[in-house]
């Protein structure tokens, strides 16, 4: 057996040096309200990644080729990591080890307007404005508010609410919540929205493809259906209300196992069986170039033209 290294058998160092080592091992912790002031050059269409745990993240686009971060570090956080790379800028709130009490950190981030943006938080609200690049915004329990331009927007939350304001430009918008409500207004192009118990309110421009699904949340949708457009809406026990604006040219396939079906277009739903529940409604409006499918187990369905 090899003898232990001599250094390991040395007597303990002086109390002063031990204290120094301990101090070095424990990272400094921010005091309440420690100001943040970071700035660095950025590619005008590069990526910006922001990560915070609790508090707020406010991101806005500007016409400079740089990223600026201001705000306040919450008490108990260690520091703000700010890395300005060629193509990617990273902003991250660092927590100290084994900390159990971390106060909110508020981040105000300015990015080149065409940046691609990714924000991840646990309970920090996310608010985005004036960012034209693709956005990927995720939070466990906080609310998300953003503006959609012509690039893809993906918002995901467990219990936070999601609000998206579009400009009518075509984009792919994806919203996923578990219990949070979702609102998307003036969004066009393609919409994928999925919730378990959140209520969804969608005011859509001309959409080519929309797929909306809930287990128990109510779905209220107003939309203009594009030529050859597709609408696919499903709910188990949530009610579904679809208002179609403008000219309508589509085949309709509507059915509910236990819910009522009300239709402003004229044709009435019929029972699918003499002895079992279930109603369906199939009809064509115009040439039938588009497809509208509405399906529920228990939820009522209202289909109307405005």
């Amino acid at each position: 057996m090899t003898a232990p290294a001599r250094s390991a058998l040395k007597p303990l160092a002086s109390p002063l040096s031990v204290a120094a080592v301990v101090l070095m091992a424990v990272p400094p912790v921010a005091a309440a309200g420690t100001p943040i002031n970071e700035r660095g050059p950025a590619d005008p269409s590069g990526a910006v990644e922001v990560s915070n745990v609790a508090g707020t993240v406010r991101v806005s686009g500007w016409d400079r080729n740089e990223v600026e971060v201001t705000g306040e570090l919450g008490e108990g956080t260690e520091r703000l990591e700010f890395v300005a790379g060629d193509k990617v800028t990273r902003v991250k709130v660092i927590l100290p080890g084994r900390s159990r009490n971390v106060d909110d950190t508020d981040l105000i981030v300015r990015v080149p307007a065409a940046s691609r943006l990714a924000v991840n938080t646990v309970s920090a609200d996310i608010e985005v404005s004036g960012v034209a690049g693709a956005q990927r915004l995720q939070s466990v329990s906080a609310d998300i508010r953003t503006q959609a331009e012509a690039e893809d927007v993906e918002c995901k939350s467990v219990s936070g609410d999601v609000t998206i304001h579009g400009t009518g430009k075509k984009a792919l918008v994806t919203v996923t919540t578990v219990s949070g409500d979702a609102t998307a207004l003036k969004v066009a192009g393609e919409v994928n929205a999925n919730t378990v118990s959140g209520n969804m309110t969608l005011g859509l421009g001309q959409t080519a493809r929309s797929r909306v699904r809930s287990t128990s949340g109510d779905l209220t949708i107003a939309s203009v259906l594009a030529q050859d457009g597709r609408f696919d809406v499903e709910s188990i026990s949530g009610d579904v209300r679809l208002e179609l604006h403008g000219p309508v040219d589509a085949e309709f396939d509507v059915s509910s196992f236990n819910g009522e079906i009300r239709n402003c277009f004229g044709p009435k739903a019929v029972s699918t069986s003499e002895y079992a529940p279930g109603k369906e409604l199939r009809f064509r409006e115009g040439q039938g170039s588009g497809r509208v499918r509405l399906k529920t187990l228990n939820g009522d369905i209202d289909l109307c033209r405005k």
Partner: protein, 192 residues
């Protein structure tokens, strides 16, 4: 009231007929054999297509969850408490069970969720568990309806998408809680 004479004649004639008429031979074996040999699409083939689709979704969800997972701990060895991962019934109507690859992938996603769920903010955790239970109730209800009306296409479609949605929720929450902010909070045991 006196019944017309024609009615009485008809009744008398009917009374002379045999109460039961036996078929000349047992027809059922022939019918059953032809049903078995039928090449057309059947409920069974539809259900297996649905199962195949779910397996695909499950495996892709699992791959996504695995990619965002940072812990080297093998998930399959984690104990799976009953709360968040309580199994959704993996029946598909009265005649089919979704097991094998689907069940394995789903169990792994649920185990991963169980590992992460403790670090979620309490209110979000409660809502998540309530919503997973909501999806299980929905699947139970549709399965019960399918038992009464086997082969109902609406019920089959809704059940399939309910299973898909559950997988989607499991994968999404795993991914959300595996992001850098959440992972940091988890590693540091931050109480939110």
């Amino acid at each position: 009231m006196t019944r017309p004479v024609d009615d009485r004649r008809i009744d008398a004639a009917l009374g002379t007929l045999a109460r039961e008429v036996e078929p000349p031979r047992d027809l059922w074996p022939g019918i059953a054999a032809r049903l078995e040999a039928s090449p057309g699409p059947s409920r069974r083939s539809w259900a297996w297509q649905a199962v195949a689709a779910l397996v695909l979704v499950a495996v892709s969800s699992l791959v996504t969850a695995t990619l965002v997972r940072r812990s080297p701990t093998p998930v399959a060895q984690q104990p799976v408490p009953a709360s968040a991962s309580a199994a959704m019934p993996v029946a598909f109507g009265p005649s089919f069970a979704l097991n094998g690859e689907y069940a394995a992938a789903r169990a792994q996603l649920a185990a991963e969720l169980e590992r992460r769920v403790a670090t979620m903010p309490p209110s979000a955790r409660q809502k998540l568990e309530a919503n997973l239970a909501e999806m299980r109730r929905a699947a139970d209800e549709i399965n019960a309806a399918l038992a009464r009306q086997p082969g109902d296409p609406l019920l089959q479609e809704l059940l399939l998408s309910t299973y898909q949605q559950e997988l989607g929720v499991l994968a999404s929450v795993n991914q959300l809680t595996g992001t850098s902010a959440a992972e940091e909070a988890r590693q540091e045991n931050v109480k939110l």
